[in-house]
Each structure stands twice: as C-alpha cells, then as structure tokens.
C-alpha cells in the first residue's frame, strides 16, 4: 500500500479533512472523499474538461491535478455556484438558452466560463470562443453554450 497523506480540501468554503494517496487526483477526491459528485469525469486525461473546477480563481482540469496539490487552496465546484436558491447568472443563462442537453459536460462548462469571466469580464467574443473550445460537449453543437455564456457575461457585468 502506498503512503497516505492527510490534507484538507476547501470546497465551496467548507473544509474537508481527508486522507488520500499522493497519486489521488483532485477530481476523484472531490467526488469520492468529499462526496461532491456534481463535478464529472469524462476522460481522465485532460482533454474533455468535464471535471473543470476553479482553484484559487483559475479554472483547472481536476483530473490533471493531484488532491495534495490543492490542499489549502480555495476550490469551487458547481455545487457552490448558486447562492442558496438563487442561481448564478451562468446557470440561469444555460437554462434560458438551452445550453445543455444530457447535462454531463455542463458543470465543467459552467466552471470554465465563470472562472474566465470573473478574471476577464470584458473578454472579446473571439477569445471567449477560444476558451470555450477547451471543453467538449457532444450534445449541443456548442451553439447555445456560446449564446448562454455571452448572455451571462452581460448579466455578470451588470452592477
């Protein structure tokens, strides 16, 4: 048995003291040790982006990060986007513009888009398209994801 590390993950403002092997990915730790299953795993090799979460303000693929690397950092997942019953503008925009079908890639897209727009609220349409091409969706053909993220960008800029 490999050695274990005792770490604390901070997810959506709550601390999760967990014991993991050093090789444990952040994605697995979030889902299994911390029970937050809204973050999905689509490829485990950093291509599809379904597992995207925000770590210290940056969208990251949680399958490419070890849990131990995220210890002490502020992790945000899809479960933390809404404020109680009030959904985040990005969540509302995805529903309004039909930016999801099966919903499997959706948490990753939401976290990617929120992370980027918080950092760059005035991102150009062209740069936004580049960012959104980081993640894969097999249902929507991206049309309505792009529409939804642009609409949410506007909503997030409003005071």
């Amino acid at each position: 048995m490999s050695s274990q590390a005792d770490i604390t993950l901070s997810i959506n403002g709550r601390d999760y003291p967990i014991r993991v092997e050093p090789r444990r990915t952040l994605a697995d730790a979030i889902r299994e040790e911390c029970g937050q299953t809204g973050t999905h795993i689509g490829c485990e090799h950093g291509v599809c982006g379904a597992c995207t979460v925000i770590v210290d303000g940056e969208p990251v693929r949680s399958c490419l990060m070890f849990a131990v690397q995220a210890a002490g950092k502020a992790i945000r997942t899809v479960e933390g986007l809404a404020n109680g019953d009030e959904m985040h503008p990005m969540q509302r925009a995805f529903m309004e513009h039909h930016g999801l079908q099966c919903g499997f890639c959706t948490p990753g897209f939401l976290m990617l888009a929120v992370g980027v727009l918080e950092r760059e609220p005035d991102i150009s349409d062209e740069d936004l398209l580049d960012i959104l091409s980081s993640n894969l969706c097999r249902c929507t053909g991206y049309q309505n994801i792009i529409k939804a993220v642009r609409a949410a960008a506007t909503a997030m800029r409003l005071p």
Binding site: L81, F104, Q143
Partner: protein
C-alpha cells in the same frame, strides 16, 4: 381537439418553454451512475491483442478474479435475425478460450476500492497465442481468410440483395453512368459520459437493482435475466441521468451482465466505471463501410437506376438487440434516399473481423449512404455541367405518398421546398461570385448540399420487415393523477438529453389543462415505468409522444365526466384549463385536484357510472414517418495543409409539427456538430495487427467549439397523418446530412484540382494525398 396555434400562447405545444430537466443538471444535483458507491469495484482485464488463443490467466495470489470458467452457466449474447442469411454467433460475457478483438473483456477483478482493482488488473497476466487478425472488411472476404467465427463461412454474417424487376433493361438504356467508390472509416459515438454500471443485491427480497447508463432499461432487464437464467422480476434496471448515448448505450454491454451475476454471487454491491480508453476501444463502434455505387442517368440528368455493393465491417460480434444487420440492412433498404428512382440493385453484406463490435450510432448507416449518394449526385452534376442543386431539382421526389424501389412509403414531405429555401437563404448565386473571386486570390472556398430523408418513429412492422426476433415499435404511457391532484406519466422511453420530460409534459398539458411544470414524467426505472423500448432511432417524441397523447385524451374524457357530475353541467359545456374544469361562459369551476380527490374518495357520487381512480394508459405503434432536410456547408480549404474550416452551416428541415422549437433546434445543432466531426475529424484507427491507435480524446477527435461554425436553421412544418401528434422525429437528421454536405463542399472547393475525396473523415492527410496525386497542387 385543442387547436395548435403555434406561438399564440393558447397551447403549450409549439412553445419554447424552458426544460424541466435543467435545474438539477445546472446545480450539480443530477444523478449519474458513477455517482453511486459500492462495496466492491470491478475492473476488466481486456485483451491486448486482436485475435488469439488464451493459454493461461495468472493473477497475483489472493486476487478476486472472475474468468469464463466461472460463468459456464451463463448463455452468450446471441441476438437473432430470421432473414438475410443471418448466421447467429454468440458473444461470451468474458472471452472463453479465444479473443476476437483488442479490448475484449477476458477477466473481471474486484476489490474494495476502484484504484486497488485497477492496480490488481494490471498485474493479471494473460498469455495469448496470437493468430492472424482481420481488420478490414474487404480483407475478411478474401479467399482463405481466417474465420472469426467458424460457423460464418467466408466471414459473412448477414447478406441482403435486391434487384428490382427489369433492372438490367433500364441500366442498358443509360445515357451516362457515374461511379463512386467510397469509404467511411470507423467511428465511436463518444458520449461524454462513458459507460458505467452498479448492481446491488437486496438480501431481503433476493432482487438485484442494476443502475447503468443505458438507453433501453427494459430490454436490458430481459436480456440479462435470459442470459443469467434468473426470473426477470428479480431484476430491476434503472437508467438514472444518462450522459448522452447516441446509440452506443442501446446495445447490451456484457459488462453489465457480469455485474448482475457478481452482485448475486457476492450478495453485495458491485460497480464498474468505464474509462475513456475502454470506451474508445471496447464500447461499440460504427460507420465502418465500403460502398461502391453506380448511378445511371438519362440524357436529362434524371437518375434512372442505382447499383450498389456494400460491405459493412461489423466487428467481432453481433450487438443485442438490433443485431449487426442494422447497418448493412438499413443501407440496403434506404440507399435510394429521397430520389425518384425505381430501378435498383444492391448487395449489402455484414462482415466479421477482429475489431470492436459495431452497433447503432446516430443516423445508423444513413450518414454513410447519404454521403455516398450525395457524392454521386454532385459528380453527376459536374458531368452534366449543371449546378448540384439543379440535378437534385430534377430528381427529388415531389409527389406523396411515394413508394420507393424497396417498398418504403414516404408520407408528405418537402424535399424540393427545403432545398429551394436553403438555396435562397444561403444565396447560392452570390456565393459562386465570391468563390470565383477567392480562387483568383488562391483561396479555395466550396459549397456543398445534401438533401435527404430521415425515417423516424417507425413501429413494429418496420423491424419485423428486417426479420428481427425482437421488434421494438410501440410505446406505452401510464398517466396517473393521484388523490392530491399530482400528475405523473410513466413512460417506457428512456430519454438521456433529448428533453422528453418537457415535450411530453407539453403534449399532456394541452389535453388535461394542467401546467407542464406540474406534470412529472417518470422514466428509466423498470419498477416504475411500463415495459417499453427506450430512446433511439428518432422515435421517442413520435411514439411515446403519441402514447402520451392517447393516454391524456382518455384522462381528459374521464375528468370531463367527473366534472360533469360535480358541476351538474353537460360534457360539451366544460373545458379543462389552467388547472380547473370550467363551465364555459360562466364562473362555475372546480379545481382538477378536487376532481381527483372525488375520483378516489367520493366515488359514491358517480353511482357506478365512473370507475374509481384516475389512471389511464395509452399505447401507440405508428406506421413511421419521414422527416426531410437540406443541409448546406460552406468551407474554406487550405490546399497547402489540407485543413478544412467550415465557415457556415445551414439547415432547412421539415420534421412536422414542432412541439418545442428550442429543443428541436438543439437536437439539430448537436447532430450537425457530430456530422461535421464525422466528416472531418473522427476516426478509430487500427494498425494492421488490430491494435487501436486512437485510444484517447487527443487522438480520436470530437469537434470543439472552434470547429463548429454558426448553424442557421429554417423550418417547414408539414403535418403528417402518420403521427397522431403530427410531430416527426428529428434526433438523427443533423448527423445524417452534415457529413455529405461538408464533403461535397470540400470537393467543390477543390474542383480546380480535379480530385474527388470520397472518404470520411476527410482528414488533412487524405486531402493532401489526393492533391499531391493530382499533380496540380502545391
């Protein structure tokens, strides 16, 4: 009957209401199979070679391992077809003595943790004596080729042939014969959620609940019960949220059988989550076909005869329930497409090879045959010196019902009209000017059209015509209003992204006067839903929607009778609206919830006139209906690198009455994106030994937002008599037309070089090879 006044707000049908599925999915509260935990985690040991004899399987001491030797009591997966010289072959749940494709499960290892099982599986040594592997369908037909299954001589597992009477004479009268030798390479549907299963044994009842990522829960239950030899009522199959399927999840996975068997043996819970590599190599593949097509035209460019020879590489086993006949036989029946041609010859064979089994994938065969037929039409147009649209104008069917050379009956459609609509919207004349100007500057733009039909919502006779032992077709809906007034529709379909909870609720809402928000659609649980076939083949809105409408009409009739008693008004004077039964033109009304309470708790009022309770069932088995569309792609080809950029994509389609325009558009968008990926990017590549070279998403390339252009949609709504909701299916059309439009477009762009790219995907390598061979390119 409620008037369908689209967009007026007087009916729910026709309105883009928000999806009822979405709140859970955008907040991380969706429930997918891999979210469940288990006592035991399973990892499959898979064959590293394509063909060979298993000599020994050695695991580290103490490893919990299951091999074929433990499964002697299980039957193989052995779907049946009673026509077309089909040779039934069995697929063992775990490879038994021989392996037939890279990735075939050989053993199952289980442990208390997922990574522990994975570590153990890596330490299992399988000694295999390799034998010659067949990878290509045509090679498998060669004299002396090794046999994948000894019972299938010449490796042909299914063969259909049609020659219409008088075919030879028509052929001889041809003015011009055009030929296409086309290849569609192997692809993988690649749902974003790979497969996963979780089986838990209940010691109190002896039952097992299998939760898995399936498109057809009931048939999964029947199949596994048959294979294991257990009573079907001891198995419950649940499809929770399913992360896309596109056909890959409608065929039975042997892995699920193993999970149920193991849960019963251990009297515990077991789970398996497929990783992406397993999905790419060992879930199902599709689209691997050679098609040789010849078209005979008269002097006016009218197609008078078609002749085809199709070889579909179906892999190592036949998928359950459709059988591997699904691709070659659909090609046989539907190849003539939307064109008026009555002389037809076709031979279509399904051929066994040492590759991953083939199964349905969005469009099933039609993306391939449409691509080949549309290449033929474009090549013919060039030979006659006319626009590709002009040759289609002369050949598209335009009078209905139209009976095809293979006996298919096309209901009302708009083949010509959608094309004219597309030509106008894309402004073909101005594109040609822009194309010429660009060429002068050394830039190669092209436009491609695809006109096609999409056979949807077909009932059991269509499957029976194929000789299938299992003939899906009908659906049943059980609609219940409980004593508290809550409405629940239990359905046999099993949606996984299509928004059916919303669209069915819209259909039911219009009948019973209750807001769709208050209608709960229950699906994907064999304990709660009536037996049904699931969601595939663009069938659910037509068939399950029809069954929903029939059940809702019965419910409406009963509610009106109850209201008539309680309001002391005649039936014709009552309307159901906004949650109430109202006497028209008065202020007398009673909430539907009160009618429901009376139906259960106050039945003495009805003096035996009305049966107690509120539960109505509708079943629907329709004749089938054809949607149609014209797709247009505009591309920019870089002749130095072979890169194709799709600038614009336009769809003019007719899928009958649109229940929810927002959802319908989303289905077309997604299909088109898959079609663009199929046309340009996605390919499962085997080397000559049968090893897969494309086992990650960095090698097998679904398109990203960068590769998909803006998609412009136009609709015509032809109301068909072949569907009681007037809706036709449209789940597959996007994927059917897009490859043909894109490949025609890139060939149009490259017309100055005299090349014809008749392969899909048309990768940069293939385009560059063709340009180099032309001797005219840089």
């Amino acid at each position: 009957m409620t008037a369908h006044t689209k967009g007026s707000g007087t009916t729910w049908v026709g309105r883009s209401i928000r999806r009822l599925e979405d709140p859970a999915l955008v907040t991380g509260r969706g429930r997918f199979t891999a979210d469940l935990t288990a006592t035991h985690w399973v990892r499959f040991v898979r064959s590293a070679v394509a063909a060979g004899r298993i000599e020994t399987i050695t695991a580290p001491p103490g490893t919990s391992i299951i091999t074929a030797a433990d499964l002697k009591a299980l039957k193989p997966i052995r779907p049946m077809l009673h026509k077309f010289n089909y040779v039934p072959v069995g697929q063992p749940i775990l490879a038994d003595g021989v392996v037939r494709f890279t990735g075939e499960p050989i053993a199952a290892v289980f442990a208390a943790a997922k990574d522990e099982a994975e570590d153990l599986s890596d330490q299992v040594e399988v000694d295999i004596t390799e034998t010659a592997a067949l990878v290509d369908g045509r090679d498998a037909l060669a004299d002396g080729a090794p046999l994948v299954h000894s019972e299938a001589a010449g490796n042909v597992i299914v063969e259909g042939e049609i020659t219409t009477p008088g075919f030879g004479d028509v052929w001889k009268s041809a003015h011009h014969v055009i030929r296409v030798d086309a290849r569609s390479y192997r692809q993988n549907a690649t749902p974003m959620e790979a497969r996963a299963g979780h089986a838990v044994y209940d010691a109190a009842t002896g039952r097992v609940t299998l939760t898995c990522t399936t498109q057809m829960p009931h048939l999964t239950r029947t199949a596994i019960a048959d294979i294991i030899g257990m009573p079907e009522h001891d198995l419950r199959v649940v499809a929770p949220d399913v992360g896309g399927g596109f056909g890959q999840k409608m065929s039975l996975a042997p892995e699920y059988v193993l999970l149920v068997w193991l849960a019963r043996r251990l009297r515990s819970s077991v789970a398996w989550t497929e990783d992406r590599r397993e999905n790419l190599i060992a879930a199902f593949h599709s689209r691997d076909q050679h098609v040789e097509l010849e078209g005979a035209f008269d002097k006016n460019a009218k197609l008078i005869a078609l002749s085809a020879d199709i070889v579909a590489n179906i892999g190592a086993y036949s998928c359950f329930p459709t059988t591997c006949g699904v691709e070659p036989l659909m090609a046989l029946a539907e190849l003539p497409g939307p064109y008026d041609v009555q002389a037809y010859h076709c031979r279509s064979r399904g051929v066994l090879t040492h590759t991953c089994p083939m199964a349905p994938y969005r469009g099933v065969s039609r993306p391939v045959i449409t691509f080949v037929l549309e290449r033929l039409m474009d090549k013919a147009a060039a030979a006659f010196g006319i626009e590709p649209t002009e040759i289609r104008r002369r050949n598209l069917i335009d009078s209905f019902p139209y009976t095809s050379a293979t006996g298919l009956v096309f209901d009302d459609g708009t083949y010509q009209q959608t094309m004219e609509m597309a030509i106008k919207a894309i402004d073909l004349a101005s594109f040609r000017r822009r194309q010429n100007q660009a060429r002068d500057r050394g830039r190669y733009l092209g436009i491609g059209f695809a006109t096609f039909s999409e056979r949807t919502g077909y009932g059991s006779p269509a499957f029976a015509a194929r000789g299938m032992e299992i003939t899906p077709g009908w659906e049943t809906v059980n609609l219940t209003i409980d004593p508290s007034g809550f409405v629940e529709a239990r359905i046999g379909s099993s949606p996984h992204g299509q928004g059916l909870r919303t669209t069915l609720a819209q259909i039911i809402a219009d009948e019973i006067g209750i807001d769709p928000q208050h209608i709960k659609i229950v699906h994907g649980d064999t304990d709660r839903a009536p037996y049904g076939w699931g969601t595939f083949a663009s069938r659910s809105l037509v068939i399950c929607g029809g069954a929903s409408l029939l059940a809702a009409r019965k419910m409406r009739a009963k509610l009106l009778r109850i209201a008539s008693h309680l309001l002391e008004a005649s039936l014709g004077d009552i309307q159901l609206k906004a949650g109430s039964a109202q006497v028209i033109g008065t202020d007398r009304a009673i909430p539907i919830a009160a009618l429901a309470r009376a139906a259960y708790h106050q039945t003495h009022i009805f003096k035996g006139d009305i049966e107690p309770g509120l539960s109505e069932t509708g079943s629907y088995d329709p004749p089938g209906t054809f949607s149609n569309a014209c797709h247009v792609a505009v591309v920019d080809v870089d002749v130095e690198t072979g890169r194709v950029a799709v600038e614009k994509f336009l769809v003019a389609e007719d899928a009958g009455l649109i229940i929810n325009p927002m959802i319908a558009d989303g289905q077309v968008h997604g299909g088109v994106a898959q079609g663009i990926g199929n046309a340009l990017l996605e390919e499962i590549i085997y080397d000559e030994t049968g090893n897969i070279l494309t086992s990650t998403l960095a090698d097998f390339l679904p398109p990203t937002a960068r590769e998909i252009p803006p998609i412009e949609l136009h609709h015509i709504e032809t109301l068909t008599g072949n569907s009681i909701t007037k809706a036709k299916g449209l789940g597959e059309g996007g994927a059917i037309g897009a490859p043909a439009a894109v490949i025609n477009a890139l060939n149009d762009a490259l017309s100055p070089f005299g090349v014809s790219i008749d392969e899909m995907p048309a990768t940069p390598q293939r385009i560059r090879a063709a340009l180099r061979d032309s001797g005219k390119a840089p």
